[in-house]
C-alpha cells in the first residue's frame, strides 16, 4: 500500500461511490470540480484509479468538455450568452466591451483572479436578450442580467473588477 497524501485521500473519499464501467466518469469529475472549483492532475489520477481508466483517458475527457477546468476559476465569472437572439441585439459589442474593460480574452480572468469571462450557451431565456449570467463561486450565485446594452455591460464589468459582489451588481 503506497503512502498517500492527505489531499489524495480526500479526493478518494469524494469519489469512492463511483464504479468502473458504470458510466460514472462525468459524475465523478463534476463532484471533484464542485468541491475544488477545478480538476487537478492529482484528482485526475485518483479518478482514473477509481474507475480503472488510464489517467490519460481522464485527462482526455477533462480537456474535451467546455465545463471542466484545469485551473481555479475566478471569484466571479461573467458568463456571456453567445446565443442568436442575444447576438441579434449587439451581443458581439457587449462581449467586446466586457473583454476590453477587464483586459482579458474570452475564457480568461483578471490577474488578481477576481473576475473572469466565460462563453455561455443559450438556455432559452431569450425574452431577456441580450444577457449575461453572473456566477459567484463563494455564494453559488448564478443569476441572469438581461436587457443589456454595451454601456451597462461596461458598468457591470467595472463594478466587479473594482470589488463589488455579485449581489451588489445584481441590485444594479
Amino acid at each position: 500500500m503506497p503512502l498517500e497524501t492527505e489531499s489524495r485521500a480526500q479526493i478518494r473519499a469524494l469519489v469512492s461511490e463511483f464504479r468502473p464501467n458504470h458510466g460514472d466518469l462525468l459524475a465523478a469529475l463534476h463532484r471533484v470540480q464542485h468541491e475544488y472549483g477545478y480538476i487537478s492532475r492529482e484528482a485526475m489520477e485518483v479518478v482514473a484509479e477509481q474507475l480503472h481508466l488510464f489517467a490519460a483517458q481522464v485527462y482526455g475527457a477533462v480537456s474535451y468538455y467546455e465545463e471542466f477546468r484545469f485551473e481555479p476559476p475566478a471569484a466571479v465569472d461573467i458568463r456571456w450568452c453567445s446565443g442568436p437572439a442575444c447576438r441579434g441585439r449587439n451581443g458581439g459589442g457587449i462581449r467586446d466591451a466586457i473583454l476590453a474593460t477587464l483586459g482579458v480574452e474570452m475564457d480568461g480572468q483578471t490577474e488578481d483572479g477576481r473576475v473572469g469571462v466565460r462563453l455561455g450557451q443559450c438556455i432559452g431565456t431569450c425574452e431577456l436578450a441580450p444577457q449575461v449570467w453572473i456566477e459567484e463561486r463563494a455564494t453559488h450565485t448564478n443569476e441572469i442580467i438581461g436587457d443589456l446594452n454595451a454601456a451597462k455591460a461596461v458598468k457591470i464589468a467595472r463594478a466587479l473588477r473594482d470589488g463589488a459582489s455579485a449581489a451588489e451588481v445584481l441590485r444594479g
Binding site: N21, L26, A85, R87, G92, D96, C122, G124, E127
Partner: protein
C-alpha cells in the same frame, strides 16, 4: 398479488384526492411559476416578496409553484387559484407587485387587474380564457404533449398521476397491449424523431426489440444544444413524469432493463427535477426491480453533460455516457446493434419519448388527427429573436409560418423581418421572402435546402447582418467540432476565417467560391456535425448573395455591424451626454475637453457603449471607402 392496473388505481385514488384539494383549495393559493425562464426574470424574488407579505399580514393564503405556460415575455408568471377552483394568471409580476397579488388572492383587490392575462381554469367576468390569447391561436384547443405544463406542480408526482401520468404504462404492463402491439401502434402514429430527423420511432424501437441479447438500453437525448431551442427543457422542468412514462413504455416495448437521460450541463433545474422525478417514480413502484408487480426491472439514471454540443449526436452521447470523450462513432454499427457499453441501445429525443404515452393511451388514430401526411401530431416550438412575444407553444405540424409570426405578435416596433433561423447552428437561415412558402414541417424547408430542426426558430430583423450571423454559427461549429475529421475541424476553421476577414473589412470576391469548396470538403466528414456545418453558409450564399457582394466589393455593411466597415463619429459637441460617453468607453477612445472632444477611430472597438449613453451625440455609420490603389502585380 395485485395487477399493475390495480396498483395504479390505488395510487391514482390517493393522487386524485391530493390533486382535487390542490385544484379546489380550502384557502386561496398563489403559485409562482418556477422554471429557468421565470427564475431568470426574477421569480425567486417575486416568490420571496409574496411569502414575506403573507407572513407579515398573517393572511389565509397558501403558496405553491407551477411551470410557466409558454408566455415567457410575461414572466415572472403568477397563478392565483381561488376556493371555487378558478385559476387566474398574472404577469409580469415583479417583486414590487407582490402586494397587489396578495390583495387579489385575499379578495382585498378585484381579480381584474392590468396584470391579468387570462383564466387558466374556470370563468370570471371580464377576464378571457388563457386559451383565447392570440399567442395560442395555432394550438389545438386541448394541448397534448404540453397538457400538464402550467397546470400542476412539476415536483409533485401525485399531480402527474392524477392527471393521467403512468396510466398508459400501467395498462400496457397489465398486458392490455403486447410490446409488439405498442411498437405497431407507434408505427401507426408515424411518431417521428423530434430531434429533427423525423425517423419513425416505432421502427427504431423494432430495431432494438429484435436485437440480440437481453441487455438493452433506452437512452434519452436531452442534450438540447441548439441555441434558440428549449422545448426539451420545458418538458423536463414542466412535466418530468411524462418523459419517464415514455421511457418506461419504450423499455417495456424493447426489452430494456436500463436507461439513461443525458441532460446538458446548462440545464441545472431540469437535471434536479428529473433526478427527483426518478426517485419519486421508484418510490411509487413505476421504476426499479419488479416494477408495478411485474417481472420487469428498469433502472433509469440521469447523466449530467459537461458542455459539448456534439454530444447531441447519438453516438457522441453514447460515448460520453461510457467514460470517455464524447466523440461521435463511425456508423454502422448503429446504436441498436452496438450502443452504450457496446450493447444494443435506442436513442430518442425527449419530446419523442414524451409523445409515446399519448399514442399508447389514445391510439394512433387519435394521434394523427393533427399534422400532415408526412408529419403526424403536434410538436413544441420555441420562438425567439426580434418578435413581440418570446416563448414556447405546441402546434400541429403543417401550420403556416406566417401564422406563427402573427401569433408571436409580429416584429418589434420599427423592425422588419429579415431572416428565419431554424435548426440551430447545423440548420438554416432563410429570407423573409420565403415565409409564404413555409409551413411548420420538414418538407417545405427541405425544398429550400433548409432544415426545420428540433423546435427552435429565431426571427432576425433588418438590424442583423447576414455575414455577422454566418460568422457566429461558423465559429460555433468550429469550436464544437470534436476534432476527429480534418475536413470538419479544418474546414470549419477556414470557413470562420473567411467570415472574420470579411467582418474586418477585407472581404474578397473569391470568398464565395472558396466557401463552396469548403462546403464540398465538409461533406466527407464522419458525422452530421461536419456534414451539416456549411448548411447555413450555403443558405446565405443562395438567399443573401447580394450582401456578400456588398461586403466584398462595395465594402458596405448595411446593418452597420461589421467592425471593419463602420465607424463611430461625434456629431454634436454640445451634447452634455458626451461626458458620459467619454467615461463609459472601455478603451478610452474618446478624448479631449467639453466642446472639443475627439473619437479615435484606431482605438475604437465599435462596441457601441458610447451610442448607448449618448445616442444623439455620436453616430454609428458606414466608414467612407478608402481610396483604393490598384496593385501592379
Amino acid at each position: 398479488m395485485a395487477s399493475p392496473l390495480e396498483r395504479y388505481e390505488v395510487l391514482r385514488a390517493e393522487a386524485d384526492a391530493v390533486y382535487a384539494a390542490w385544484r379546489t383549495p380550502e384557502r386561496p393559493r398563489i403559485d409562482v411559476a418556477i422554471d429557468t425562464s421565470s427564475l431568470a426574470n426574477g421569480a425567486r424574488e417575486t416568490r420571496a416578496a409574496i411569502a414575506a407579505l403573507v407572513e407579515q399580514r398573517n393572511d389565509a393564503v397558501d403558496l405553491g409553484q407551477t411551470h410557466g405556460y409558454g408566455m415567457q415575455w410575461c414572466h415572472p408568471l403568477v397563478t392565483v387559484t381561488f376556493t371555487d377552483g378558478a385559476s387566474m394568471v398574472y404577469g409580469p409580476v415583479t417583486a414590487d407587485q407582490a402586494g397587489l397579488i396578495v390583495d387579489i388572492a385575499t379578495g382585498r383587490a378585484p381579480a381584474v387587474s392590468a396584470l391579468a392575462i387570462g383564466m387558466l381554469v374556470g370563468e370570471r367576468p371580464g377576464i378571457p380564457s388563457l386559451r383565447d390569447h392570440p399567442f395560442f391561436a395555432l394550438e389545438p384547443r386541448e394541448r397534448r404533449v404540453a397538457k400538464r405544463i402550467g397546470l400542476i406542480d412539476p415536483e409533485n408526482i401525485q399531480h402527474a398521476i392524477a392527471t393521467g401520468a403512468y396510466h398508459a404504462a400501467a395498462r400496457m404492463l397489465d398486458r392490455h397491449q403486447t410490446p409488439e402491439q405498442v411498437r405497431q401502434e407507434l408505427i401507426g402514429s408515424a411518431l417521428g424523431g423530434r430531434g429533427g430527423g423525423n425517423f419513425p420511432a416505432g421502427t427504431k424501437w423494432n430495431f432494438l426489440a429484435t436485437a440480440p441479447g437481453d441487455e438493452h438500453y433506452v437512452i434519452c437525448n436531452a442534450d438540447e444544444g441548439d441555441p434558440g431551442a428549449w422545448v426539451n427543457r420545458v418538458i423536463m422542468e414542466g412535466d418530468p413524469h411524462l418523459l419517464l412514462e415514455g421511457l418506461l413504455i419504450a423499455a417495456a416495448a424493447t426489452g430494456s432493463k436500463g436507461g439513461f437521460i443525458y441532460i446538458r450541463d446548462e440545464y441545472p433545474l431540469a437535471i434536479a427535477r428529473m433526478e427527483q422525478a426518478v426517485r419519486d417514480a421508484e418510490a411509487a413502484g413505476f421504476l426499479g426491480d419488479g416494477l408495478m408487480g411485474t417481472a420487469l426491472d428498469l433502472e433509469l439514471r440521469v447523466i449530467r453533460g459537461a458542455g459539448a454540443y456534439v454530444c447531441g449526436e447519438e453516438t457522441g452521447l453514447i460515448n460520453s455516457i461510457q467514460d470517455s470523450r464524447g466523440m461521435p462513432r463511425v456508423k454502422p454499427p448503429f446504436p441498436a446493434g452496438s450502443g452504450v457499453f457496446w450493447k444494443p441501445s435506442n436513442v430518442n429525443n425527449v419530446e419523442t419519448y414524451a409523445n409515446a404515452p399519448l399514442v399508447v393511451e389514445h391510439g394512433s388514430d387519435w394521434y394523427i388527427q393533427y399534422g400532415t401526411e408526412r408529419m403526424r401530431g403536434t410538436r413544441l416550438f420555441s420562438f425567439s429573436g426580434d418578435i413581440q412575444r418570446v416563448g414556447f407553444m405546441e402546434i400541429p405540424f403543417g401550420v403556416p409560418l406566417a401564422g406563427v409570426i402573427e401569433a408571436c405578435g409580429g416584429m418589434l416596433p420599427g423592425l422588419e423581418l429579415k431572416a428565419i433561423q431554424s435548426g440551430g447552428p447545423l440548420g438554416s437561415m432563410l429570407p423573409a421572402s420565403e415565409v409564404p412558402n413555409l409551413t411548420m414541417e420538414n418538407a417545405p424547408f427541405a425544398a429550400l435546402d433548409a432544415l426545420m430542426g428540433g423546435g427552435g426558430i429565431v426571427f432576425f430583423s433588418n438590424r442583423v447582418c447576414t455575414i455577422h450571423m454566418a460568422e457566429m454559427f461558423a465559429q460555433f461549429v468550429e469550436e464544437e467540432s470534436c476534432g476527429r475529421c480534418t475536413t470538419c475541424h479544418g474546414g470549419n476553421q477556414r470557413q470562420t476565417e473567411i467570415f472574420r476577414r470579411t467582418i474586418a473589412g477585407d472581404g474578397r470576391r473569391e470568398d464565395r467560391h472558396n466557401l463552396a469548396l469548403v462546403d464540398r470538403t465538409l461533406q466527407f466528414s464522419n458525422c452530421v456535425h461536419g456534414q451539416f456545418s456549411p448548411k447555413i453558409v450555403r443558405n446565405t450564399l443562395r438567399f443573401f448573395s447580394e450582401e456578400y457582394d456588398r461586403h466584398a466589393s462595395g465594402r458596405t455593411c448595411d446593418a452597420l455591424e461589421c467592425e471593419g466597415l463602420i465607424r463611430f463619429r461625434i456629431t454634436n459637441q454640445d451634447d452634455p451626454l458626451l461626458a458620459e460617453a467619454q467615461d463609459i468607453c472601455p478603451v478610452a477612445a474618446i478624448t479631449g475637453t467639453p466642446g472639443n472632444r475627439a473619437l479615435n477611430e484606431a482605438t475604437c472597438i465599435r462596441c457601441g457603449a458610447c451610442t448607448d449613453v449618448a445616442p444623439n451625440a455620436i453616430v454609428r455609420e458606414a466608414k467612407p471607402a478608402a481610396p483604393r490603389v490598384l496593385a501592379l502585380s
